[in-house]
């Protein structure tokens, strides 16, 4: 009788597992007999180097927490999904968490001395930074102190064009104002090919330009300060803006653009006098910002008493700054 089959897969697995599937025996020490001596020497050196690295990384893992791995590139980016070309704006793939409002999933590794001092709590208030006019180069510093109270507002998105060899090139320019409605305000402008990127960049620049605002009381000192402490002026381009104190209940008497800024700075009542080409709203906004900045530049009689000078944070915390610090771990590049 002819066989119907010569081989089957049936039952083969059961047979193999009866005596267990044995893994091949891989010796820890490979036989070095007959190998080239230079090669063997090199092998020794590399083995030494690798064990050192392993020890160090074990140490690091104990001290610093692992960074949030998502690499969608930009800070708090959304839906960029890695590749630039495909799906721009379509959010192909899992992008990082949405930027404005959220975005606290990324760990901040400060890269300036001031940043390190702020992160480790050496500096208690943002006023200490303003007192010494230290330049703020990281937006996270502002986030650390003012974080949730800051509200941003996009003043305008406009397309700008540039003539290139290959025709015209259009980009979007975003004007953003940021403030906590209680004594701090900042302005930022950024140009980019996508609206979202321009807005994000402008918010960061606005945060870097945050300044404190001094307010005052009209007449008698009851309640909270509500108006400008004195007549202040700011100029940008041809526009000159003068802020004049006003009694409680006046409200903000000005054109719409400076009104927004004064509101964000925390003023409730103020008169404005504007001269020059007020149609250039950009210069108008910048002039108002300059005027608001001048509130703390004006020397009032209560500041006449001699100042006791203290050390700047860099001097005070030199030994702390000299200590080694945790740098941002380099991202592993997989080939």
């Amino acid at each position: 009788m002819a066989k119907s089959k010569n081989h089957t897969n049936h039952n083969q697995n059961r047979k193999a597992h009866r005596n267990g599937i044995k893994k091949p025996n891989v010796p820890k020490k490979i036989a070095l007999k007959g190998m080239d001596s230079k090669f063997v020497r090199n092998l020794r050196f590399s083995k030494k180097h690798n064990t050192e690295k392993k020890k160090k990384s074990n140490q690091m893992a104990d001290t610093a927490p692992a960074p949030g791995g998502d690499s969608a590139g930009a800070r708090g980016g959304f839906g960029r999904g890695g590749s630039r070309g495909g799906g721009r704006g379509r959010g192909r793939g899992r992008g990082n968490r949405t930027g404005r409002g959220g975005g606290d999933s990324k760990e901040w590794y400060p890269c300036t001395k001031l940043g390190r001092l702020v992160k480790d709590g050496m500096i208690k208030k943002i006023e200490e930074i303003y007192l010494f006019s230290l330049p703020i180069k990281e937006a996270e510093i502002i986030d650390f102190f003012l974080g949730s109270k800051l509200k941003d507002e996009v003043l305008k998105i406009m397309p700008v064009q540039k003539q290139t060899r290959a025709g015209q090139r259009t980009r979007f320019k975003a004007f953003v104002a940021i403030g906590d409605y209680d004594g701090h305000i900042g302005l930022g402008v950024k140009c980019s090919k996508e609206v979202a990127t321009a807005i994000r960049g402008a918010i960061i620049l606005a945060k870097l330009s945050v300044i404190p605002v001094r307010r005052g009381y009209w007449g008698n000192k009851i309640g909270m300060p509500h108006t400008v402490p004195c007549k202040v002026t700011g100029k940008c381009g041809s526009v000159l803006v003068r802020l004049v104190p006003a009694p409680r209940g006046t409200g903000l008497v000005s054109a719409p653009v400076p009104k927004k800024l004064l509101n964000m700075a925390g003023f409730e009542d103020c008169y404005t006098c504007a001269t020059g080409q007020t149609a250039t709203l950009g210069n108008f906004a910048k002039a108002t910002f300059a005027a608001i900045a001048a509130t703390y530049a004006y020397l009032t009689p209560d500041m006449w008493s001699p100042t006791v000078f203290t050390n700047s944070p860099y001097q005070e915390y030199t030994d702390y700054l000299a200590k080694p610090f945790v740098k941002q771990p380099k991202k592993e590049v997989k080939y």
């Binding site: 379509r90 949405t98 409002g101 305008k156 090139r169 979202a196 990127t197 006098c273 906004a285």
Partner: protein, 382 residues
Amino acid sequence: MTIPAFPLNGSCLLGDCNYQWDTSKKTEDTILPHLLSEHRIVIASMNTVYNMQHYLQYWRNKVHSSNLTEHLHGINIHKKDGGAPELYYMLNDTSEEDKALRFRIYRETLDKVLKQQQSERESKNMNIDCLFCPDKLTGNRFAVSEHLYNEHSFTLGHPDNLVYTAEFIENLRSKMARAECLYCDKTFRDYKTLREHMRKKLHKKLNPSNTEFDKYYIINYREFGKGWKTLSEDKDDNDVSDSRSGSPTEEVWSDWEGAAPEIKCLVCSVVYTKFTSIKQHMKSQHCIDLDSLCKDLSYYKQVKLVNYMRYLISDSDCPFCGERKLPDISEHILTHGHTTTLSHELYNDDRYLIPALDNDFMLCCLKDVEGEEVVVIPEDVT
């Protein structure tokens, strides 16, 4: 609060043809075949026509059935079965007029789209149903996209890159209601199988090559005639290189031009943008010389004066003589002639420091003259 992207009905190019086409459907399906079959007109380079209706309207005003050859390119086409050659007309951007028209429509569309996006960004009360769950989504569109991303892993892209968001979501909803997959466009038996398919195949996203949704993304309006695909292939510009070079000329504030704020006349409802023009108007039409009235007055006094006049005139009382409830206030003021002074006691009340009119830009134009010292106490410096 949805402003529809494009209004609903459009007429044909030629004035005497009564064909109406549904602008919400694709132009390739509706108006273009009609133009080709009925009138033998072809419109070239469709990607540079941003608003078909405006485009057709412009040409409708210029072109009649009789003078087609004046404006349009005539081409003789030989038919396949050897009949007499037929005359076809083509509208393309070789003519300067057409090119300028297309560019103008592009700029108008871009401005309109940016304006719409700004209003969407500021509106805090979007109220729509979620696409995937029965939740109602409120708040601004940022909250909407957060919910869609967090709960359903569905991303449309950064909300700042989108425009006409509510319409977009309605569009997607109607698509899903027809049991069509958002990604692969296949139709299924019912809604349940569609959801299963989208879950298993991870089709909870949009197909980038699908041009149906192009009009909802701002990037497609950025360059004249280029969609996002050609832009991404453009190796000419890079975000990184620009930010590194700084491009200080591009990040200036001075090129933001807007409308100068308007100043309302004290008596009538005429508005001007320049302070000198409104003063001239009031001097000639109403015999009110603001310059002489405000001469030698400190800033606060001037503010009080203007507010006093505004308060009284709005109540139909004359600010000069005190007569009340006058029927025609502008006539009455003319009878005073050029009154040069207004008695100080009349307006020296602190309540006239509060502006009578909201956003009264006239107060911002008054000259700031040093006058009486006002007591303003600055806050403590900590």
